[in-house]
C-alpha cells in the first residue's frame, strides 16, 4: 500500500521518507522537504515514534557518500533533509552509549560499509585504530573571540571570554593604575584599571587576547571609568560566565588591521600570536587534534548551538531589561525583543580572521562526555525555550531528595 504511491509522490510532493533505526527497531515516516521544521521538533518526533520519550539520543544519518554524519542542530538537520534522496536513513544511539568514533568527515578514505557496520556492530578493533578522536561539533564551542572590530577604535580590543561550566579558571588579576591620555592640555594622568597578572594555563592567558598591563575600559558594555577596583572586580565576577572586556592592549603591535575583510590568509596577518596560543592550548588531546582544529571549517561556529549560547545570554545578559531605567547601552536591545538573535553579529559572521582563529580553539577531547560542555552551565532558561537534551545529566549531578532546579 505504501509502495504504490511512495515513489512518485515523494518527488512531486517533496516528501522525504525517513527510516529510523534505534537498536534493533526500525520506524518509517515521512517529512515535508520544503518545511522540515526545527531540529528540536524533529528530535521530539523521533523520541515519539520510537516511544522513548526520556532517552537522550544521538542522531546520525547516512549521507550520499554513506558517511555517518550527526544531526544535532537546525543546520545539519536541514542539510540532511535536503540531500536525502530518496530515503533518509537515521541511526539513533543512546547518548550514554554513544560511540563518537563512528562519525567521520574524511569520507573518501573510508568505505560505507565500515562506517555503517561500526554503528551496527560496534567492533572494538575499529575503535582502537581510530587515530583522531574529535568530539561532536556540538561539543565545540568558542572559548573566546574578538568582537565589534568594526565599531571600536583600532587601539581597543573587545574580547569575549566564554567561561561556560568548564574547569579551567578565567585566570587573571586586575589592579589600579594610571594611564596617560592625550588631552588638549597635553598629557594627563587618569586613574584606570589594568590587568595585572595572568594565571598560567588559565582561560585568559590561553586565548592570547589579553595581556598584563592591558587597560580595562569596559566590562560587558559598562564603562569602568570612575569605578573602583573592587567595583570592577565585582562586575567582572558577576559577568564571569560570559565576560566581555574592552581593553586597550599594552602591546599595540597586534592590533586588528581594519578593512581586510577576513578570509583564510588574514589569520597570520592580523593576530599571529593569538592563533598560535589558541591552537596549542586547546589541542590538548595530543593525538593530533591540532591539525584537525586548524583545518576545521569555519562553519563550526555556526554549528555551535544557538540555543546554548542564548541560554547564557538569557542569564548572563550584558544589559538590564527593557524598561529598566538605567541608561541605555548602545547596541543592547532588550533580550525579550530579540530572543533568538545573538548579541554580537561579528561573532557569527566571522568578519575578521582573528575571530575565526581564536574561536577555533576547540575542546578536542573525545573522552569528554557530551554533557560536559554544559554540565554545570545550568541552563534552565534554555530548558524553558528548547528542551535541552543535557538536562537530565546535569540534574543527576545535583539531585538529592527533591526537585532540583538549576538556574
Amino acid at each position: 500500500m505504501n509502495k504504490n504511491h511512495r515513489v512518485p509522490s515523494n518527488r512531486s510532493l517533496s516528501a522525504v521518507e525517513v527510516k529510523s533505526k534505534f537498536g534493533a527497531e526500525f520506524r518509517r515516516f515521512s517529512l515535508d522537504r520544503s518545511k522540515p521544521g526545527r531540529f528540536d521538533e524533529f528530535y521530539g518526533l523521533l523520541q515519539h515514534v520510537h516511544r522513548i520519550p526520556n532517552v537522550e539520543l544521538l542522531v546520525g544519518y547516512a549521507d550520499v557518500h554513506g558517511d555517518l554524519l550527526p544531526i544535532n542542530n537546525d543546520d545539519n538537520y536541514h542539510k540532511a533533509i535536503t540531500t536525502a534522496s530518496p530515503l533518509l536513513r537515521l541511526f539513533l544511539q543512546r547518548k550514554e552509549e554513544a560511540d563518537y568514533t563512528t562519525f567521520g568527515t574524511d569520507s573518501l578514505t573510508r568505505k560505507k560499509n565500515t562506517v555503517l557496520s561500526a554503528v551496527l556492530l560496534r567492533p572494538d578493533t575499529n575503535r582502537k585504530k581510530t587515530p583522531v578522536i574529535i568530539s561532536l561539533p556540538r561539543d565545540f564551542r568558542p572559548v573566546s573571540s574578538i568582537i565589534d572590530v568594526d565599531i571600536l577604535p583600532e587601539t581597543h580590543r573587545r574580547v569575549r571570554l566564554y567561561k561556560h561550566g568548564q574547569e579551567k579558571p578565567l585566570g587573571f588579576y586586575i589592579r589600579d593604575g594610571s594611564s596617560v591620555r592625550v588631552t588638549p592640555q597635553g598629557l594627563e594622568k587618569v586613574p584606570g584599571i589594568f590587568i595585572s597578572r595572568m594565571v598560567p594555563g588559565g582561560l585568559a592567558e590561553s586565548t592570547g587576547l589579553l595581556a598584563v598591563n592591558d587597560e580595562v575600559l569596559e566590562v560587558n558594555g559598562i564603562e569602568v571609568a570612575g569605578k573602583s577596583l573592587d567595583q570592577v572586580t565585582d562586575m567582572m565576577i558577576a559577568n564571569s560566565h560570559n565576560l566581555i572586556i574592552t581593553v586597550k592592549p599594552a602591546n599595540q603591535r597586534n592590533n586588528v588591521v581594519r578593512g581586510g575583510g577576513g578570509g583564510g590568509g588574514g589569520a597570520s596577518g592580523s593576530s599571529g600570536r593569538s592563533s598560535d596560543s589558541g591552537a596549542s592550548y586547546y589541542g590538548y588531546s595530543s593525538q593530533g587534534g591540532v591539525a584537525a582544529a586548524v583545518s576545521m571549517p569555519s562553519h563550526i561556529i555556526q554549528n555551535f548551538p544557538v540555543g546554548e549560547l542564548e541560554s547564557d545570554e538569557e542569564d548572563e545578559d550584558l544589559v538590564i531589561e527593557a524598561g529598566g531605567e538605567a541608561e541605555p547601552i548602545r547596541r543592547a536591545p532588550s533580550n525579550y525583543s530579540m530572543p533568538t538573535l545573538p548579541r554580537y553579529e561579528p561573532h557569527l559572521n566571522l568578519r575578521s580572521a582573528t575571530t575565526s582563529t581564536s574561536a577555533l580553539s576547540i575542546n578536542a577531547n573525545g573522552t569528554l562526555p557530551a554533557s560536559g560542555s554544559s554540565g554545570s552551565l545550568g541552563n534552565a532558561n534554555a530548558a524553558s525555550t528548547t528542551p535541552s537534551p543535557d538536562r537530565a545529566t546535569e540534574r543527576r549531578s545535583l539531585e538529592e531528595d527533591g526537585t532540583v532546579i538549576t538556574l
Binding site: 589600579d176 567582572m236 599594552a250
Partner: protein, 964 residues
C-alpha cells in the same frame, strides 16, 4: 497613551511626580551617645547642654526631644565650648586654635529652631596656643588665656581683638615680690574666672601657681595670691569672698579675698583629701554653697597615685558625707545645675552632670544619698558592644505597656525619681503616631529594648540571657547589673567608692553574644540566638518565675562524616531552676551542634515554629510541642573552614602562607624586564613606564567566578516562613525557605496540624496533640551565579509581600491574595530575581552587580506612603549595597526607582549594622555608640522639631568676616 507611559517609565513626568511624593532621603537624627566627646558646656539661662566631640561635632540638648547639631568644617577636636547665656549662641574652641561662634537659627516654621548655624571663625595667631576661654557675664568680652601666659581680649559678637587690653606676663611679673619671681616664667594661663559679684574683675591662674585678681577697667593687679603648687583649676565661691584652687599634687586650697590685702602668701586652708601618699592632680574643682549647711565640694581626680591612680573618679563632699563616684571611663568635664539668680544668696546645686568618655551621668544632689538619675537621651547604646539590631514598627499598646512595666520594675530600686535637670527648649514634635521598638543585641548576652518612636532613643527594658546558662560568674548575683546597686557600696573602704554608670565593655563570655533577634509583636514571643549556637525562645510574663528551661539539642551536621568542630564549646545550660524577673522569660533553649554562631533566625508564632541557621545548616523547631522537626546540613563536602570556628588559627596560617607565596612569586615576576621594542606612541610609552613603576606593590584582585568550593559556602544567610504555593498551584500551605552563602535556596513544604488545607486535616481526627509538624523538601534552587542569598520573600497574587503571622488571621492587615499565582523574590548579593510559584521560573530580575559593580548587603521590603494621597502606598524593595548606597526598586517588576548615597563605603560596620523599618526609615551605627536615623520616605520622618525662647531675634546674624 497608557502604553507609552508603561514603556518609558523613567521619563514619565507623572511617575516622577509620584516618586517625589513617595521617596526622599534625609538623615534625620542621631541616637545614642556621641562618639569621643571632648567638651561640655551648660547654659543655665536656657537650660541647654552642649557636647563637643573629637570629630568636630557640637550637639546641643535640652528637654527630651530638643536637640541641635552642628558640625565644624574640619574634623578637629572641640576642646572647649562656652555658651553666651540666654542668646542661643555658643563659642567653640578647636584643637587647631580656632574659635567659632555658633547660633541657633529659625527653621522653616519661624518659631522652630532647627540647627546650629555656623557664624564665623577666628583664627588665632599660631605663635601661641589658647589654653582657656572666659566669657564675661555681660557677654561682650571674651578673655583668652594662652600657653605663653598672655591674656587677650576679644570684643563680642564681632570677635575683634582689643589690642590695648592685652595683658602679657611681664606686666604681672613686675608687681611680684622678688623672692617669688625667681626668674622663671609663670607658665601658661590655666584658669580664668570672673568675680561673681564685681563685674570687670577676673581671676587669672597661672600654671606655676600664681593667682592674680585683675581689674579690667583700671588694668591693675588688684590682688596677688602666691600659690606654690602647680595650678589646675580655680573656682569662686558665690559671694566672691573666697576662691578655691586645685593643684597638681591632688590637693586644693581655699583663699580669702579681703580688700586691701594686695599680696596673699598663704591660703586659708590647704587639703589633700586622699593623702598622705602621693596623689594625682585634681583637674577641676567646684564649690557650691547651700542654705542648709556647709558647701558642696565637687572635684575630679585626686586619687592616691599608687593604689587607685587608674580609676576615673569624681568626689562629692559635704560635711561628713563623702562619695567617690567611680566611673568606667574617663571624666571629660562636669558642671552643676544651680541657682543663677544674682539676688539669691546660695548656689543650691540641684544636680551634677558628668560627661564621661562613654556616657553621661547625672547625680541628683537634692535627694539624700545623691542617687543617679536616668538619662532620657544620650543613652550609652554600647554599654556592651552592639552585635545586632531588630526593629518593630507599630507596637501594639498592650505589649508596649507590659514592656514599660517590666522596665520600670527593673529600674525601680536603682534610680531616684528626680526630675531631669536639663530642660531647656520645647519639643514641638507631635506625639508619635505609633510606638516603635528598637531591639539591640549585645556582646554580653543582653537584649535592650529602646523606645524608638521619637527623637530621643530611651531605654525601656533590658533582657539578660546569661542566666539561662551556667557561666563563670556566681549564678546567684548575675541577673542584676551590680554597678548601679546601692547595696554594693563598700562603706568601710577608703576612698568611699560608688560605682556609677552602665558602660561595661567587658563581657564575661563572648559566647553569650546575641547574633539574631526576632520578635512577634502579636504573640509576644521572642527568639534570641547567639554566638555559641544557642537559640532561646522567650515569652512575656508579668510575674516573676523560677523555672527550669527546657533544652533541646539539634545536630545540624546530621550524618555527615569526617567533620570535627574545632571552634568553641557550647554554653552549659543551667541545671537547676533559675529566677526570672518579670518581662521576657525563656521557655526553650535550642542548642545547635556544632555550636557555631547562629547566622539566621525566623519565627512564626502562629505555627509555633522557629527556624535557625548556622554555617553548617539549618533547623526547624516546634517550640509548642518541643520537638525538632527538621535539621538540614548545607555544608559543601570541600568546605573545611566551616569547621574551624571563629577563633581558629588554621585560617590565618593558611592565609599567611598564601600571602608569602604570592610575595615570592611577585618578586620573580617583577625581576623579569619586559622590553617594548616599538612603542606606537608617546602615550603608550608613558603608560608602559607608569605600569612599570606601579608594578612595585599593586593591589590586585583576582577575577574568578564563584565556585561551590568557596569556603563557608554552607552558611545559612536567610530564613523565611510563608504561606504559599510550593507543590502545586491550587493548594497553599506553610513553607520554609532557606538561602545559603553559595546561592542555594531550599524550600520546604510544612505540614502544620490545623493549618492549611493539606493532609493534616484528614489526619486531624487522630487527635491534634499527637500530630507533629512535618517538613518535606519541595524545591531546591541553585542560583547560577552562586552569590550569597541575602533575602527571600514571598509575594502574593498582587505582588505584595505576605503579611506577618497573625496579621491575616486577625484582620490586622489586608489579607494576601491567594487566588492569583504567588511569586518569590530572591535577593542575592549580585542579583534581584522574582520567580513564579510553584513552578519557580524566573519572571523578572535586576543584575545589580553586573551593572553597577556593587553588591547587595541588606534588603528590606518597605511600604512607602505618599505625601499627596492619604491612602496611596507602594511596596518597594530597598537595597543597601557594599558601597553604602540605597537602591530602591518597585516590586515585582524590579524597576529601579531612586538611588541615594547613604553610608560611606569605608564604613563597613555602619553598612553591616543597618536596619530598616517597615515604613521607610532606618538606623545604622555611625560609631560604636551612635545610631544615625535616616528616612527614605517623603512622608514618614522622625526629626527634631523644637523651639527655644531666646533673648535675641531668631534671624541669623549676618556672617562676619574673620579678623586676625
Amino acid at each position: 497613551m497608557m502604553k507609552f507611559r508603561f514603556r518609558r517609565q523613567g521619563t514619565d513626568p507623572q511617575r516622577e511626580k509620584i516618586k517625589q511624593e513617595l521617596f526622599a532621603f534625609n538623615k534625620t537624627v542621631e541616637h545614642g551617645f556621641p562618639h569621643q566627646p571632648s567638651a561640655l558646656a551648660f547654659d543655665p539661662k536656657l537650660q541647654l547642654m552642649a557636647i563637643g566631640t573629637k570629630s568636630g561635632a557640637i550637639k546641643v540638648y535640652g528637654a527630651p526631644g530638643v536637640e541641635f547639631t552642628g558640625l565644624h568644617k574640619d574634623t578637629t577636636a572641640v576642646t572647649q565650648i562656652h555658651f553666651l547665656p540666654g542668646q542661643g549662641r555658643l563659642l567653640s574652641l578647636l584643637d587647631d586654635n580656632t574659635i567659632y561662634l555658633w547660633e541657633l537659627v529659625a527653621g522653616a516654621p519661624r518659631e522652630v529652631v532647627t540647627l546650629l548655624h555656623f557664624l564665623h571663625p577666628l583664627l588665632l595667631l599660631s605663635a601661641t596656643r589658647v589654653t582657656v576661654l572666659l566669657l564675661l557675664r555681660s557677654c561682650d568680652l571674651l578673655c583668652i588665656g594662652t600657653e605663653g601666659g598672655g591674656v587677650y581680649f576679644l570684643e563680642l559678637p564681632r570677635l575683634t581683638l582689643k589690642d590695648s587690653q592685652t595683658l602679657l606676663q611681664d606686666q604681672i611679673t613686675q608687681s611680684l615680690p622678688d623672692d617669688y619671681r625667681c626668674g622663671k616664667s609663670l607658665g601658661p594661663v590655666e584658669s580664668l574666672q570672673e568675680h561673681p559679684q564685681q563685674p570687670g574683675k577676673i581671676l587669672i591662674g597661672y600654671s606655676r601657681g600664681l593667682v592674680v585678681l585683675w581689674d579690667l577697667s583700671t588694668r591693675q593687679v588688684e590682688q596677688l595670691f602666691l600659690g606654690k603648687q602647680q595650678l589646675e583649676s580655680l573656682v569662686w565661691e558665690r559671694s566672691g569672698n573666697l576662691f578655691v584652687s586645685s593643684h597638681n599634687d591632688g590637693g586644693y586650697s581655699v583663699w580669702t579675698v579681703t580688700n586691701g590685702n594686695t599680696c596673699n602668701q598663704q591660703p586659708v586652708s590647704s587639703t589633700i583629701p586622699y593623702g598622705p601618699f602621693p596623689c594625682k592632680a585634681i583637674n577641676k574643682i567646684l564649690w557650691r554653697t547651700t542654705q542648709t549647711g556647709s558647701p558642696v565640694l565637687l572635684y575630679s581626680g585626686g586619687m592616691p597615685r599608687a593604689s587607685y591612680g587608674d580609676r576615673h573618679c569624681l568626689t562629692i563632699q559635704q560635711d561628713k558625707e563623702h562619695v567617690t563616684l567611680d566611673f568606667t571611663s574617663r571624666v571629660i568635664d562636669f558642671f552643676t545645675v544651680h541657682s543663677i539668680e544674682q539676688e539669691k544668696e546660695f548656689d543650691e546645686p540641684s544636680a551634677l552632670v558628668v560627661l564621661l568618655e562613654e556616657e553621661l551621668v547625672v547625680i541628683d544632689l537634692q535627694n539624700p544619698g545623691w542617687p543617679s538619675l536616668p538619662t532620657p537621651y544620650l543613652a550609652p547604646l554600647h554599654s556592651s558592644a552592639i552585635t545586632c539590631s531588630f526593629h518593630i514598627s507599630s507596637v501594639p499598646p498592650k505589649l508596649w505597656e507590659r514592656l514599660v512595666n517590666a522596665g520600670k520594675a527593673q529600674q525601680g530600686r536603682q534610680h531616684a525619681h528626680g526630675s531631669w535637670p536639663i530642660c531647656g527648649g520645647k519639643n514641638l514634635a507631635p506625639p508619635p503616631k505609633q510606638q516603635e521598638l528598637l531591639l539591640t543585641g549585645h556582646e554580653d548576652g543582653t537584649v535592650r529594648f529602646w523606645d524608638a518612636s521619637g527623637v530621643a532613643l530611651t531605654p525601656l527594658y533590658k533582657l539578660g540571657t546569661a542566666n539561662v546558662f551556667h557561666t563563670d560568674c556566681d549564678p546567684c548575683d548575675d541577673p542584676q547589673d551590680p554597678s548601679n546597686d546601692p547595696d554594693m557600696q563598700q562603706e568601710e573602704e577608703w576612698p568611699p567608692f560608688r560605682k556609677v554608670g552602665c558602660f561595661d565593655p567587658y563581657s564575661d563570655d563572648p559566647r553569650l553574644g546575641i547574633q539574631k533577634i526576632s520578635l512577634c509583636k502579636y504573640s509576644n514571643k521572642l527568639v534570641v540566638a547567639g554566638t555559641a549556637g544557642q537559640v532561646i525562645v522567650l515569652g512575656l510574663s508579668d510575674e516573676r518565675s523560677d523555672h527550669m528551661v527546657d533544652v533541646s539539642v539539634v545536630d545540624l551536621l546530621q550524618d555527615r562524616e569526617g567533620f570535627t568542630w574545632k571552634g568553641h564549646d557550647r554554653l552549659e545550660p543551667r541545671l537547676k531552676p533559675a529566677p526570672f524577673p518579670p518581662g521576657f522569660q525563656p521557655l526553650v533553649l535550642v542548642q545547635c551542634l556544632p555550636p557555631a554562631s547562629v547566622t539566621a533566625v525566623a519565627l512564626h508564632a502562629e505555627w509555633n515554629l522557629i527556624s535557625f541557621g548556622t554555617s553548617h545548616g539549618f533547623g526547624l523547631f516546634d517550640y509548642h510541642r518541643r520537638n525538632a522537626v527538621l535539621a538540614r546540613c548545607t555544608l559543601h563536602p570541600n568546605d573545611s573552614l566551616a569547621m574551624e570556628g571563629p577563633l581558629s588559627r588554621v585560617k590565618s596560617l593558611k592565609k599567611s602562607l598564601r600571602q608569602s607565596f604570592r610575595r615570592i612569586r611577585k618578586s620573580r615576576v617583577s625581576g623579569k624586564k619586559r622590553t617594548i621594542t616599538t612603542p606606537t606612541s608617546k602615550v603608550q610609552e608613558a603608560n608602559a613606564a607608569l605600569a612599570e613603576q606601579e608594578d612595585v606593590a599593586p593591589v590586585q584582585r583576582r577575577i574568578e567566578p564563584r565556585s561551590a568550593d568557596d569556603s563557608l559556602s554552607g552558611v545559612v544567610r536567610c530564613l523565611c516562613f510563608a504561606d504559599t504555593f510550593l507543590r502545586d498551584g491550587t493548594h497553599h500551605g506553610p513553607t520554609l525557605w532557606a538561602g545559603t552563602n553559595s546561592g542555594s535556596v531550599y524550600a520546604y513544604a510544612l505540614e502544620v496540624p490545623g493549618v492549611g488545607s493539606g493532609r493534616a486535616c484528614e489526619r486531624g481526627g487522630a487527635g491534634e496533640s499527637s500530630v507533629c509538624v512535618e517538613a518535606v523538601l519541595g524545591k531546591e534552587i541553585q542560583l547560577m551565579h552562586r552569590a550569597p542569598v541575602v533575602s527571600i520573600c514571598v509575594l502574593d497574587g498582587r505582588g505584595k509581600p505576605l503579611p506577618d503571622p497573625y496579621e491575616a488571621s486577625q484582620d490586622l492587615a489586608i489579607a494576601p491574595d491567594m487566588t492569583n499565582a504567588h511569586s518569590v523574590l530572591i535577593a542575592s548579593e549580585e542579583q534581584l530575581k522574582v520567580f513564579s510559584l510553584p513552578k519557580v521560573s524566573a519572571k523578572t530580575k535586576f543584575k545589580l552587580t553586573a551593572h553597577e559593580g556593587c553588591r547587595v548587603r541588606k534588603v528590606a521590603l518597605v511600604a512607602f506612603s505618599s505625601t499627596a494621597q492619604e491612602d496611596y502606598s507602594e511596596h518597594t524593595l530597598v537595597c543597601l549595597t557594599n558601597l553604602g548606597d540605597m537602591h530602591l526598586f518597585n516590586i515585582p517588576a524590579l524597576r529601579p526607582q531612586v538611588r541615594y548615597d547613604c553610608i560611606r563605603k569605608e564604613d563597613i560596620s555602619g553598612i553591616a549594622s543597618c536596619v530598616f523599618t517597615k515604613n521607610g526609615q532606618g538606623f545604622y551605627l555611625i560609631s560604636p555608640s551612635e545610631y544615625e536615623r535616616f528616612s527614605l520616605s517623603a512622608k514618614v520622618i522622625t526629626e527634631p522639631l523644637c523651639s527655644v525662647q531666646l533673648d535675641r531675634p531668631l534671624e541669623p546674624t549676618p556672617l562676619v568676616k574673620p579678623e586676625k
